[in-house]
Amino acid sequence: MNRKTRITGTLFIGTTAFSAFLIIAVIIILLVVIVIGGKDTFSWKFLTSFPQDGMMKGGIFPAIYGTALLVLIMSVAAVPFGTITAIYLTEYASEKSILAQTIRFAVRTLATVPSIIFGLFGLGFFIKFVGGEMDSVFLGGQLKWGQPNILWASLTMALLTLPVVIVSVEEAIRAVPREMREASLALGATKWETIRRIVIPGSRSGIMTGTILAISRGAGEVAPILFTGAAYYLASLPTSLSDQFMNLGYHIYIMATQSANVDQTLPIQFATTLVLLMLTFMLNLTAVIIRSRLRRKAK
């Protein structure tokens, strides 16, 4: 090999290595900047107290509470529904049937639809259509459900995170060994009994991973809840499904762009970002650990 190709080769490999390290460097800078910016404000008190003085001081407890409530209601809606879909796709539908292929295509499409579109859907379908109809049928036109609230925001978020659940559960179901299924069937169990006693318990960790990933996604998304229920400031915590709620991501967005004095509240913004980042980071890490265990078991 002549010298010229060797130099070109070194340069080429160097460029690819540089690109990889550039990405890593940006990730590290991002983390470091947010940790440094937020660490002084970050404290137990910050996490557990209400905002004060028109959000200039105080903590972010309502935003944490609202986010937790949001992902809880979201999971209650998305996890059973996603699990059932995954069971249908892997256990009942034949790989080549048009219905199954259509469902798969729909799930993949759902996974790549911009999150703001979910917000529009939530507004048009849940709030105006379902909520509006509920008001006119049950409450005689009195406005209660036909406006943004935590229930509609959670259901919107559930639609967004549904593909995450389906994909994780499917993977786990496929990892359940064939022999176990066959043994169960050979012993006289029906298909449904096999699914209930063998397949679902066997894919429990996959359902868990899916739930955690969905929660991580739901906790961080802001666009779908911009106009389906998130509120700028609330003096009290949401107590009913028809209440609005505060949210960590929305809190960051509002504080950084719409608040009266952005500079003065900068430490609060950094600390809130730090909290959100730590939350999603820990959730993702847990999911990665559970998943790698699952993969090892499958081997």
């Binding site: 090999m1 190709t5 070109t8 080769g9 490999i13 460029t15 690819t16 290595a17 540089f18 690109s19 990889a20 990405i23 890593i24 990730i27 991002l30 900047v33 947010i34 910016g37 798969r104 295509f105 993949r108 499409t109 996974a111 790549t112 639809v113 911009p114 703001i116 579109i117 917000g119 529009l120 507004l123 105006k128 593909p163 995450v164 994909v167 994780s168 993977e171 990933l213 991580s216 906790a219 961080g220 802001v222 666009a223 911009l226 106009f227 991501g249 929305y250 960051i252 967005y253 950084a256 762009t257 900068l266 913004q269 970002t273 959100l276 980042l277 999603t280 993702n284 999911a287 990665v288």
Partner: protein, 270 residues
Amino acid sequence: MIENQAKVEDTVVHEADEATMKNLIGKEWFPVSDRPRYGLIPLLVGTLKITLLAILFAAPIAILAALFSASFAPYWLREIIKPAIELLAGFPSVVIGFFALMVMASFFQNIFGYDTRLNAFVGGVAMALAAIPIIYTITEDALTAVPRSYTEASLALGASRWQTALFVTLPAATPGIFAAILLGIGRIFGETMIALMATGNAAMISVNPFESVRTLAATIGAEMAEVVFGDTHYSVLFLIGSLLFIFTFGLNALAEFYVKGRLVKRFQGK
């Protein structure tokens, strides 16, 4: 940042508050004024500009990085790079938007000395951060899926490692890389929070990357909360939503056509 919208004197006589075709292809987006104008052209131009900028940053870096971790990096290094970039995929976009707004905007302003602090360039770089994990993951998958016999044949014929990577592995993985770029574009096109926070949100038609832009997605995000239900403005925002949906749907169908199955699953499932 939404207040950046300059108020232009309302002297031109327009039709009533209607989203006629003429109104929609107009060059001005002033939905809230005495004579509302719903010209989608500035929003489209803004969205395309920022998508182009972001993909120009994201695609080369992500593809080269994928090539590095698939072909050159030792095993232990790959085990660091891959999870780190997957970690980036898990960052909420509001966090990236916040970082762009508070840190990147000033940083780049010091380097380039532009006037508008929040502009298409800052937004483009920030959106590239959101698109890089997608492009990287799918490209990496496509590169590692290239059969070993290809690379072994190339090495046996006397090609060096970099020649094999550049002239054998990379071309063999082209459909996958193409799909990766398409999905990256789809992600950037519909990204709302980064656009809202880091692009300045002024609807103007210009090719200068250092001027503010207002994207389609950000327009929905910024205006939907204040709009009156059933209003023309409300309908126009839903029209924008439909455009966004149709466009991303087309991109994904195209990507799907190239690489059937299992790729979206990878980056969605982290």
